[in-house]
């Protein structure tokens, strides 16, 4: 079996030769592509620090085999801002103190982007909390995180309305 794969990471095509098939998507991003914004917390699907979007859906990259995702489009925290302009979710995390040490934050932000895309929570804080439950924060910044997600969701909806008006 050929162990070379190609991914589109943050809009850029990357061809990678894998040393062996054990490489996870998380290790590939961090060790091979030097995209260290995606964090390794537990490496076992239990914390959400490694959350990225694969073909638009949030998943835990630590429990994804890179070779199984040959051809996929990956969005990581490095790819969400437009130059100096922060993504609305990033801006909302700053505005609402959605972090303290920051270690869980890339995963929280990617998860929140995925959540808003999924459109299941509405503006109910309880649903937002439940839909963010796959991301642990040891600093306990949850109150700010919930507010940030609600706020970002609102500003993205307003921006979309303006665009379609």
């Amino acid at each position: 079996m050929n162990l070379s794969i190609s991914l589109t990471v943050n809009g850029v095509r990357r061809d990678v030769e894998l040393s062996d098939p054990r490489v996870t998507l998380l290790d590939l991003l961090r060790e091979r592509l030097d995209l260290t914004g995606t964090k390794k917390g537990c490496d076992r699907g239990q914390c959400g620090a490694c959350t990225v979007l694969v073909d638009g859906r949030r998943i835990n990259s630590c429990l994804a085999l890179a070779i199984s995702h040959d051809g996929a489009g990956i969005l990581t925290i490095e790819g969400v801002a437009r130059g100096d302009q922060l993504h609305p979710v990033q801006a909302a995390f700053i505005a609402h103190d959605g972090f303290q040490c920051g270690f869980c934050t890339p995963g929280q932000i990617m998860s929140a982007i995925g959540l808003i895309e999924e459109a299941q929570a509405g503006d109910d804080p309880e649903r937002i909390r439940e839909c963010m439950s796959g991301n642990l924060c040891r600093c306990g910044a949850y109150a700010g995180i919930t507010e940030a997600v609600l706020d970002a969701q609102q500003s993205l909806a307003t921006a979309n309305q303006r665009r379609s008006a």
């Binding site: 959400g48 835990n60 429990l63 085999l65 070779i67 199984s68 995925g114 109910d124 309880e126 991301n135």
Partner: protein
């Protein structure tokens, strides 16, 4: 992690042939298998990646009113499919009570059914575990076992099956379609799993190479849609496995229960269908006394496997609660905290 050969077959028959080779394992999303491989609990020589197999990612509404779900349908997609969630609300609730949104986006139907126990000693390769290494003993039997089985366990193994999804599925008579070396066959989900007996390493009746291709629900599931709930007690509100769970479905006509379905999770090595309870419910009036009698019947054979006597009474109370909520009616909208007995008034901030 031990190294392995990776193969990605293009057809179901190629997959079956590849996986029939000893030492092979199917890889779906890998959220359970990779975890076990990282810990050295599973050590396959070859992974047969099924994620690109054609035709296994559909939810089909069959002409007879049944529902057929491909083995590669993602847990989140199934739970959020509006038609499916309407027909099988307790299944949708069970799915949404499990794991996290990220894991549900990845996890497949087939992988969920075949996920392995979360017994801590099974996960710890330094411990004795008959399931992981037959004949070595069971460190859980006299260890930390408050979450272990109270039904169907043996001296050899007291582990539970961790899936939420499977609990309402066995209540609703789900059937799995299997492609094997001898062709296609189907089997009731309830009969897929084996109780531990003396061979806890044999968890199901699948043979080498057997691939789950689909899950089927009979048309009768719709008769329970108006009164169906899944309730799950965990050690924290979300993102935790069940300590005890119950799936309840009722068909109520003129204040009387005409037909009932009940199954329990977290109590045994398989999702546990509570037929004696169903028999009591059928024909009875939907009240607290009936529900308690049903709960007593469901747990009549239960016995603690360690420090878990509390689970028996807890299971009874969860049954009564699940039946009570089912009798009230399936909520128009999915609970904000799916499966949680602690669901509060939606929209209220805990910290407000």
């Amino acid at each position: 992690m031990k190294n392995f050969e990776y193969v990605r077959p293009a057809s179901v028959s190629d997959a079956v042939a590849a996986a029939a080779v000893p030492g092979s394992a199917y890889l779906a999303s890998g959220t359970n298998l990779l975890d076990l491989m990282k810990g050295g609990i599973s050590r396959p020589d070859r992974l047969v990646d099924v994620t690109r197999l054609p035709g296994l990612d559909r939810i089909e509404h069959l002409a007879d009113g049944g529902i057929r779900i491909g083995a590669l349908v993602r847990n989140a997609d199934l739970a959020h499919d509006p038609d499916f969630a309407k027909s099988c609300p307790a299944v949708a609730e069970a799915l949404l009570s499990g794991a996290s949104p990220q894991l549900r986006n990845a996890a497949t139907v087939g992988g969920n059914l075949l996920q392995r126990t979360r017994c801590g000693y099974f996960y710890d390769t330094a411990s004795a575990c008959n399931k992981r290494e037959p004949g070595t003993g069971c460190d859980a039997r006299h260890g930390e076992n408050r979450l272990h089985a109270v039904l169907g366990w043996s001296e050899a193994c007291i582990a539970t099956h961790p899936s939420d999804f499977c609990v309402p599925l066995v209540a609703l008579d789900a059937v799995v379609e299997i492609e094997g070396r001898a062709g296609r066959r189907e089997i009731a989900l309830e009969a897929l799993y084996r109780l531990p007996g003396d061979t806890p390493e044999r968890e199901n009746v699948l043979e080498p190479g057997d691939l789950i291709v689909a899950l089927r629900l009979p048309p009768a599931v719709r008769t329970f849609s108006a009164h169906a709930r899944y309730l799950k007690v965990r050690e924290r509100t979300s993102y935790a496995f069940a300590m005890i769970s119950a799936a309840a479905g009722l068909r109520i006509e003129a204040g009387k229960i005409r037909d009932a379905r009940l199954a329990l999770g977290g109590v045994a090595a398989k999702p546990w269908r509570a037929r004696p309870a169903e028999d009591i419910l059928a024909g009875a009036s939907a009240d607290a006394a009936t529900f308690r009698r049903a709960a007593e019947a469901a747990l009549a054979d239960a016995k603690p496997s360690g420090d878990n006597l509390f689970k028996i009474e807890l299971a009874k109370r969860i049954i009564v609660r699940a039946l009570t909520l089912a009798a009230v009616g399936t909520p128009a909208r999915m609970s904000a905290l799916p499966g949680s007995p602690f669901a509060s008034v939606s929209g209220v901030l805990h910290d407000a």
